[in-house]
Symmetry: C2
């Protein structure tokens, strides 16, 4: 049972976590609770650190930030005691969540289940501080923002848990953002692959890495609300799903966090594109969509020019422009156009693999609404289109309706 | 270099700690810094814990409270980095400060110097979270209030430090409380034994346990101000002191934290007193002064009665009364009188051992001021008198002057 920052934001909510975990033990389950820092605490600590420089040492940042979850885990154990239950808190180095030494974004290598099982054998609830681990030299590490989800799924895998319940302030995964499309429905079951695409595309219910680990180890994840007892969304393997209820398209996502760059008049020769994207990779800038058009001024294969369009995260835009401005001259670029007023709209679904014409249907729906498609990318289970940001809501609602996702009218 | 809560109370003061420790490295020293929690932080954490019951589990209290020093150690390392220095924070379990499992009041068993020496060999300052340790099962422990002094002295012993500097908000140890006697002088050098008596009697500059450890391992301690560079007080062995500057009486202390109980008309038979104090010991109540008078109504050796007077800490008074009320009947006690409006005034000094008549001189000084002595206790290096609390200031000033401690008039 993993509880995020808003679910442990104050003393009353921590009491609620204690109550909820004890209810689960009373159903006959062994319970391991993973907690985040109280909402706002991590930012408070990082704010203190940034008073000592813009780029504080990563090792010390982790030692500092890890205290947030340590506080919550001790308080949660005390809250369980107050309700008459047994509980023992465990820190990352006590469990032992062994990670690499990449401070502030460490990766879990192994998790020892001995300490957890010792606590469970005593009939107690193990309350584990999420987000944190320890490297092989005993240094405190953290897993990066949202890392408590990753802790929870990895620990669930290590102890072979029946289910990993992720308690959050929403009651599950939706077919799209309910704020954009009121007809959005809660999804009862979704595959890891679909969840990955939805998560990376902006439906930020579960951290991507936690879904990858769940998929790798077959951990059944239940995303649900910490404020009520309704069933949420089960994230599981395709095999574990009920095919009958599976729709062709599972959800519609959008991501406003991309910016488009178009390099005009690039020399159309072998190796040119590799040079550009190699330079971006060297600068540690991730590129998402890439489209290469033969330019309007093409004069045949040799000596011709081409346009190259690609997208990067908005946070990387300034650095990407600097890299391209430098490399552009080498490849004969005549002009660089930048547009950060774009949105990527995507449809995601396992069913797409066996249904032809899904992409064509998406393009048709957008065309019917008069929305121009600026770039397209596809995978086995998703189709993404880059469009002008002003059409976001219109596009999401049209696709949601067009692919039959709207909930029945009341 | 140990810095207490007021010395790390905010970002600016932590910067001052960083500056001060770097100054020391520039003098050619290897530096280990031990820090407390930021002033108020430990109380904030314990306040949170007490929202989950009056007697929260001690193990969880320690996991919670230890975060205070963890935060300061990381921030202090960052502050040193900002000033261009090298520093690495270390937690109790990273050092490894091995303790017993007596949560909230753990005792240090051993300290491993490997991690500290590794940091020093890198030319960096080791910034250690005070107050905390780890037991042999990996549980986080704390050393009790003021435990950072104990951490500092024990670590100084483990690494064979040249000196253990205790930075605090006063500039040294005084001959008495300057608020009571403006003529009080800063003591340049004091022996461990004298410091122990002064500390336990109310001059709360150094935690008693830390002085005991310093004495046991011969750690030279320098108590000084974190706000200026003046020399403070050196606490050292008798052998390390300059005999010429040593006064007969080193200081005058007072303790308002005792209460007096008098049992009237107790049967004067062998074993009776043992029965009373055995019962108090069973209730874990420490008794300080004990006086047994033959009662005014004594009728000879057999069948006579006696009065027994003793003092306990004010915090234990209610419990002591309950124990005595019960046991009193068994020993024929006729009446129990309680007086908590008393103070214990003490003179302390190594020189007393070789000077006869020190106690008599103390009694004479008090008598001259018309102060009645209610109880007396003596040791090799101190004499304590219990008097009415209203005479505290008068008695302290008279003793301070009478034993030649006043600073020369300006």
């Amino acid at each position: 049972m993993k509880f995020g920052g808003t679910s442990v934001a104050n003393v009353d909510r921590i009491r609620n976590v204690a109550k909820r975990s004890l209810e689960t033990t009373k159903l006959g389950h062994d319970v391991v609770v993973i907690v985040s820092a109280m909402a706002g605490e991590t930012n408070r600590l990082l704010g203190l650190a940034h008073q000592f420089g813009e780029l504080p040492d990563a090792r010390e940042m982790d030692a500092l930030a890890a205290t947030g979850e340590q506080v919550t885990s001790a308080l949660t154990a005390l809250a369980i005691h107050q309700l008459g239950g047994k509980a023992v808190s465990l820190l990352g180095h006590q469990v032992r969540v062994l990670t690499d030494s990449a401070y502030t974004k460490a990766r879990i290598k192994t998790i020892d289940d001995t300490a957890i099982r010792t606590v469970l054998k005593q009939g107690a609830i193990a309350v584990i501080a999420g987000f944190q681990g320890v490297d092989d030299k005993g240094n405190i590490t953290t897993l990066g923002r949202g890392g408590s989800d990753t802790s929870a799924v990895a620990i669930a895998a290590a102890i072979d848990a029946d289910v990993c319940e992720i308690f959050t302030d929403v009651d599950g995964v939706y077919t799209t953002d309910p704020n954009v499309a009121p007809a959005a429905r809660k999804i009862a079951k979704i595959s890891y692959e679909e969840m990955l695409e939805l998560a990376s595309l902006g439906a930020k219910v579960l951290q991507i890495r936690s879904v990858e680990i769940a998929m790798k180890y077959g951990v059944r994840v239940h995303v649900r609300s910490s404020f009520d007892h309704s069933e949420g969304t089960i994230v599981t393997s395709e095999a574990g799903m009920n095919d009958l209820e599976q729709l062709t398209v599972a959800g519609v996502a959008y991501d406003k966090n991309e910016a488009k760059l178009t390099m005009r008049g690039v020399v159309d020769q072998p190796g040119v594109v590799a040079k550009i994207f190699g330079a971006l990779a060297d600068a540690n800038i991730s590129v998402d969509m890439i489209i290469q058009n033969v330019g309007a001024t093409a004069e045949g294969a040799a000596g011709g020019t081409t346009d190259v369009t690609f997208t990067v995260g908005k946070a990387d835009l300034a650095r990407a422009k600097a890299v391209i401005s430098q490399k552009g001259a080498e490849v004969g670029m005549k002009e660089l156009r930048v547009d950060d007023d774009v949105v990527k709209v995507s449809i995601v679904g396992m069913g797409m693999r066996s249904h032809a014409g899904i992409a064509a249907k998406m393009f048709q729906i957008l065309a019917t609404e008069g929305i121009n498609i600026q770039a397209i990318s596809t995978s086995e289970i998703k189709v993404s289109c880059l469009i002008a940001a002003k059409y976001t809501e219109l596009a999401v609602r049209a696709l949601h309706t067009g692919f039959g996702l709207d909930k029945p009218a009341a």
